[in-house]
Symmetry: D2
Subunit: 265 residues, 4 copies
């Protein structure tokens, strides 16, 4: 009855997340002859080919690593980064607040290292598209490699350009900003969005939030909301269950809004 056929077999060229513990993971490409050197010994990466995803492999020192199939969050955490990247907790909230999903056309700026871009592209597949703007050409190159690694480059249009000067696309479902001066983009976002479309901005400082909210009110957006999201990891072990001592206390504020329109407009 062919149960073997059900297994997810690692093929040449597949990415594998070697998982030691939640702080130590390694993203590798399964190719003959390749090895990974770690503090816990050498792992035979080439030898992963033909094994199943999820299998444990032992390093030369006998330490066990799990060969997981990477999720988008794994790709993102392993991206080459030249900029502060967005945290998964914030991406989830961004998706739910804006409504980004399959088929959506989304404008994003700035691309940065492509972390948020990758998540958005993953969610709009297969028919949607992310138009991602970045003013720095070097970052676009980094992002391109990262998006290719993450397998979502086909769903992204990387654009060298400054959204404070304008947005080419019209009738997009959402405009999502992770940049220093979002308030300078609010009017362009309004022009670019479809009726009732979603605006979202991610900003580390409250000063940015205040300027952005002010611009949103002036421009004709409604349902303007600002949130912050705090994530705590809980250590769950018999007799010593407790939240982790150190946590990320702040990444950024998330401001969402929807485009109101004026009759005869």
């Amino acid at each position: 009855m062919g149960m073997k056929g059900r297994h997810d077999i690692i093929k040449v060229g597949d990415h594998v997340l070697l998982y030691l513990d939640h702080r130590r993971t390694f993203l590798v490409k399964a190719e003959p002859g390749r090895v990974l050197h770690t503090h816990k010994g050498v792992v035979d990466v080439g030898g992963l080919v033909g094994r199943r995803f999820g299998e444990a492999v032992e390093s030369s020192l006998g330490v066990r690593f799990y060969a997981l199939k990477p999720l988008m969050r794994d790709y993102v955490m392993k991206m080459r980064r030249r900029t502060q990247i967005i945290y998964p907790k914030d991406v989830g909230l961004i998706a739910v607040l804006t409504g980004v999903g399959p088929g959506w056309r989304v404008v994003e700026a700035g691309t940065g290292s492509g972390a948020l871009t990758a998540f958005l592209a993953y969610l709009v597949r297969p028919d949607g598209r992310v138009y991602s703007y970045e003013v720095r050409e070097d970052l676009l190159e980094v992002a391109e490699r990262n998006l290719e690694m993450a397998g979502v480059l086909d769903y992204v249009e990387l654009k060298l350009g400054d959204v404070t000067e304008g947005i080419d696309e019209k009738d997009v479902d959402a405009v999502i900003l992770d940049m220093a001066t979002p308030w300078l983009v609010v009017e362009h976002a309004y022009e670019s969005l479809r009726d009732s479309g979603s605006f979202l901005s991610f900003s580390p400082t409250i000063d940015q939030v205040k300027k952005t909210v002010k611009a949103l009110r002036r421009t004709g957006f409604t349902d303007i909301q600002t949130y912050e999201c705090l994530l705590r990891r809980i250590i769950v072990e018999e007799g010593r269950t407790r939240p982790e001592t150190l946590m990320i206390g702040h990444t950024g504020y998330i401001t969402s809004a929807r485009k109101a329109v004026h009759a005869g407009g």
Copy 2:
């Protein structure tokens, strides 16, 4: 050049979210002759037909409502509910942690009022599928209506059944549980998941988390993590910017894990 064509026009039968402020919104169906009675006057719902999404309409008392195109989060907040429903902040995190996205096959239990089901269905479109189990027939009926309203019923298979006794589907990408005794489902989830597939459980109490984590460790899952997510709304107004006084201090803990497999298994 036909800019009119770009507008999102409200048609008969369309759902509209009438937005007064962030605490007062109304989900209505645009049908001739229908009106909405509110404390702020009567709104001519039938008259919305032919207007653009995002337009402001005035009630009989001259109060302005915005006619927004509902997002999935709007549908969910307006669902008929017989059970505590999941919060959007948790849904976002659940999606990112599990990797649920277009094309995924997901088992979910229990269906409850269908809130989490609706979000998951929205994300797996158009080729994925959510198999949602519920032991109470009356809830399945509520969920069915809710999912139909939210426009995602086609992507869901509602199943009357108890996942503590087994899961029919094999090779699913994720098993997501929002039920009282998730630890009783861990072995069935393992059997149901594809290699390296995602397990996730949402539980209000730490006692549930401890039992679930224990079962996950025993059953052969890896990358077992528990989180809680706190969302704070920030009031942004000149001279009185501050977090909101009352907040939801706790909804539930989120435990995620991935299926490890054993060679020769």
Copy 3:
């Protein structure tokens, strides 16, 4: 050996906190003939005289109340209030940050209903003193009654006056502000404080904090820090241990500083 002598006996005129559960407590004065009417029946308050603090008494409906000896936090929670009062969690932090303790001389403004005043007075006993300013005479009267009830009026000097126009006292150990425009008091606080003395301001909005911090920097304070403190109640019960669903998400920001001095000044 007279163990009876050890007991804390309720005397005529003593305040008693009748404790039903953490949401339902009643502060009463033990006097002959007095009764308390509650939804859980009538409690014979007069009958408390001669009994021990900590004893359970039954209402006419057979419901048990504990006759606790009030702590300062109990008095504060039961104060007649005309203003938003400070939360215990914030008072604790204020005390630790400023160093307020026995013997300190503290300037406070505004008095409001006297909640913070009462805590400060409690801590500076027996030799310290709180100089509490308030511009509204009606509030001073409320505060006076509240402080008398809490048993700390002797340690407080209630002053009708506006600290934005000046502070009479010199060489005080701390200036503590809970008022709308703390930045207008920063220079007067500087003049009033002893060398290296403690400044503290409690403000609900970030806009107030920014103005206050700016004034502190300009005026010659050092070690300027701003904090917020979040308190969560945890429900601890077998099988359903979890943080409480609703929490106070924000009360105010706490800004502390210390007076730097300039040689020859």
Copy 4:
């Protein structure tokens, strides 16, 4: 009119907190000839004698340090420590919940490095007393030096002993525990407390909390509450105001209770 007389002059033997910024402070003793070597140059500590608290002094590299008069929180942060010490945020809450103040008699265990002991001693002065138990003699020695440095040793009775085996003192106002097995002390605490007296336990894990709450309920305590307190530092600077990125996400849970008594007992 003798304003000079008002100044707080640094005398030989005084402790001084040299403040560079909120992460870099140095607790020194002003004695002739003493110097402090820092990465920002050498500070002439001996030269502080005769200057005013709060004055700025320059290091050999021209970097400015403020010579602050230490608060109890400064002493505590600079204590020699062999154990995890309690955070100021938690101390404030402990004081408010228990009611510890001038004149109180408090039993504390374990002493550890003496951080909590020092705060409690500071608050019960001049007539109260802290009875602090510790099973490790080496820690008692560390604590003794720390308490002497902090100037509160006279208000503390350090006791080599195990409170799980009993508490010598009777009729104390509060029993405060920061130790691994607080539940084993609950009955002894009950015996030691005066009627309606305050129990408090600080524990890092939820497992400890559950056992302690269970013991409290069994033993006859009432008003049993558990809290956690989260402190966030806010960076306040024009154009970049925001919470600090990293925060302490968890120190411990605080469980408070009050002694109920039974008539005829």
